[in-house]
């Protein structure tokens, strides 16, 4: 027999409600046999940003991609005006994805954590018929306060990276709590 026991250290005065289903079907919630914070949509940050306008990149120069527009940013954790970085305010593990479109040359992307290279992806060579898009993804732990994530691009020749949501984007979402 399970019992719902409020924590003695709880400080808030709000009411916790378990609402019944809106149908006549029975529904079951099974709480895992583990201790931790239950994650719900309200405390799992997610964002998607993109490049609005071309960005010029010098040859052979590892350059931070200035993602200056947002598709969504559920917790206001992405800075699209000054540092172009994701600083989640909830500790946990984040699935990080990025794609950068470019117009000539060959290159690769890197995920940077706290100003240092965390992961470098595959090298992609531009194709005159297909164009060029460099992908990268990984899972990164962030402490929920000071850790931040950025995307850097390296292109062999000087060129521009492409503008628009479908060409050059950066997204991340929490996949589990700390």
């Amino acid at each position: 027999m399970a019992a719902l026991i409020p924590s003695a250290s709880a400080t808030g005065s709000g009411t916790m409600t378990l609402a019944g289903p809106s149908t006549n079907s029975n529904q079951t919630i099974t709480i895992p046999d583990a201790t931790g914070t239950m994650m719900v949509s309200g405390n799992m940050p997610a964002f998607r940003a993109y490049r609005n306008g071309a960005q010029t990149i010098s040859a052979a120069t590892t350059t931070k991609v200035a993602f200056n527009a947002e598709t969504f940013d559920t917790n206001n954790n992405f800075d699209s005006t000054t540092n172009y970085r994701f600083t989640p305010t909830v500790a946990g593990y984040y699935q990080v994805n990025s794609t950068v479109g470019f117009t000539t040359s060959s290159g690769q992307l890197s995920i940077y954590k706290n100003g240092s290279n965390y992961q470098t992806g595959i090298e992609v060579t531009y194709n005159a018929s297909l164009g060029g898009h460099i992908p990268i993804s990984d899972i990164v732990y962030c402490n929920g306060s000071t850790d931040y994530i950025e995307i850097y691009v390296y292109l062999l020749l000087g060129t521009t990276i492409s503008s628009g949501e479908t060409n050059t984007s950066f997204s991340a979402s929490m996949v589990r709590g700390a």
Partner: protein, 53 residues
């Protein structure tokens, strides 16, 4: 002329792989431009400010 082009002018013998392995040029998109983040070339000295001016 970019920093990369200036360095290539000073040291024409540098190859593309050198800029991945022993030299890293970087730009943090903060308005300060390109800079040398790493110079670990075994024989060529890091260019001076005067050379890059």
């Amino acid at each position: 002329m970019t920093l990369y082009e200036k360095i290539k002018t000073i040291y024409p013998s540098l190859e593309d792989k050198d800029f991945v392995t022993v030299i890293r040029l970087q730009n943090d998109s903060d308005g300060k431009g390109d800079f040398i983040a790493k110079w670990e070339h075994p024989t060529l000295a890091r260019p001076t400010k005067e050379q890059l001016a």
